[in-house]
């Protein structure tokens, strides 16, 4: 029972959503849109579940004085203060001069940008390894990356006007061809996996082995 009911729920919900997509009947469309909204709400609740879990784990680590526990306190404080400020402003949380937006501009935005900019340093060392030309494939990779980087900065156009044009051509033709191949393959993969999930052939979410 505990394992069968979720499989039935997935099957019924999935088949209905698949069939309803092709049925223009108003009542079917209403239920189709309702179920989309319900799924959005449930996914929203999973965020709360995730935060509750994050709090539970970190509070346990603090209470047991585990390694780096003072930093866990910082995490908890950051989480609770951000949530308290956000919820206290209710529907005004997106106002430009709200305290929630101040937290966004002062903490979240600079830290996100800095975290990602750190990758510039690591990507430089990765480039050193990737650009050691040992095969035709590595040469193509290096040339494409070099042309694109040079074509996207003013220096490229200063050296020769053909460089930015070559970067554009690279993006439009060979890059586009491979990207479309990947997208078509990924779409087929998503569709096949989706059907497996709906039919209950893929059920690792139920805690099983997925067989």
């Amino acid at each position: 029972m505990k394992r069968e009911i979720p499989i039935v729920i997935t099957l019924v919900a999935g088949l209905f959503m698949l069939i309803a997509f092709f049925v223009p009947h108003p009542q079917v469309r209403n239920l189709y849109e309702d179920m989309q909204n319900w799924a959005i709400v449930v996914v929203g609740c999973t965020y709360v579940l995730g935060v509750a879990n994050l709090l539970r784990i970190n509070l346990r680590q603090v209470s047991r004085r585990e390694r780096d526990w003072p930093f866990k306190l910082v995490l908890i404080a950051g989480l609770l203060v951000t949530m308290a400020v956000g919820f206290s402003e209710w529907t005004h949380y997106t106002d430009v001069d709200s305290r929630f937006q101040w937290i966004y501009g002062t903490f979240y935005s600079p830290m996100t940008a800095t975290m990602f900019s750190l990758l510039a340093f690591f990507i430089a060392s990765a480039a050193f390894r990737a650009f050691r030309i040992r095969s035709v494939e590595a040469m193509l990779l290096a040339i494409a990356a070099f042309i694109l980087m040079l074509g996207r900065v003013p220096l490229g156009a200063a050296i020769h006007p053909a460089i930015p044009a070559a970067a554009d051509w690279l993006m439009e033709i060979p890059q586009n061809a491979a990207k479309r191949g990947i997208l078509i393959g990924a779409a087929l993969g998503v569709m096949a996996t989706g059907i497996r999930v709906i039919l209950g052939l893929e059920k690792t979410y139920g805690g099983g082995d997925g067989a």
Binding site: M111, L141, L148, V190
Partner: protein
């Protein structure tokens, strides 16, 4: 060069956090750990507020508590119950109940993805590649279209593993690899440019917004 440091407390906090994260370039240290944990906490708090206020509140709480009887809003009891059932995960004896809402989401979203990817990626990408292979008077377009079609076919053949990549199939798959390598190189170049742009942005923030060193 003269300095005109900012008088805004927010700019000072952002600058010190930026420097704290950059300190990781030396080695992992307590200042970085402080910033890292604060980042996780603030991010989680930010997204939970954003999700609650942009999806749960308008789609569930507001219609349920302001107009329960009208417009079939009473049906919202279903997602409310499903949402509450998620939290049964915290109670060992009833944690199996949390599988029901997950099962519901896993029924709805794959179905939406099947039709969405089918329309948006599968059909549209093929549609976009059905191009004229001979454009009179436009040699560049002709070559471009030919390369695009051949590149796509070769890439698809590379991903076709039901037949061994030997002979003509192997040669075509190899050509597909070359197209993929050019694509990966271009993506890599784009990623590098994006990261360097972010780095320049942070350095500009420190020098201009915080220290005022770029004001003449």
């Amino acid at each position: 060069m003269s300095f005109h440091p900012s008088h805004d407390i927010g700019v000072w906090i952002a600058a010190l956090l930026t420097l704290g994260i950059f300190s990781f370039l030396y080695k992992d240290n307590p200042v970085y750990k402080f910033c890292e944990h604060l980042f996780v906490g603030v991010s989680a708090g930010y997204y939970v507020v954003l999700t609650m206020m942009s999806s749960v509140y308008p789609n569930l709480i507001h219609p349920l508590f302001t107009s329960f009887a009208s417009d079939r809003h009473y049906l919202l009891i279903i997602p409310l119950v499903l949402g509450i059932m998620l939290f049964s995960r915290f109670f060992p004896r009833g944690d199996w109940l949390s599988r029901w809402p997950i099962a519901f989401v896993l029924g709805v979203y794959p179905a939406l993805r099947i039709t969405g990817f089918g329309q948006g990626d599968f059909v549209e990408q093929i549609h976009g590649t059905i191009l004229p292979l001979w454009v009179p008077g436009h040699l560049g377009t002709t070559i471009g279209n030919l390369l695009l079609v051949v590149g796509l076919l070769c890439t698809l053949i590379f991903f076709f593993f039901s037949k061994e990549h030997k002979g003509a199939m192997g040669g075509t798959a190899r050509l597909g690899i070359y197209f993929l390598m050019v694509s990966f190189g271009a993506s890599y170049g784009y990623t590098v440019m994006a990261r360097v742009s972010l780095l320049i942005g942070r350095v500009m923030f420190l020098l201009d917004d915080w220290l005022g060193a770029l004001r003449f």
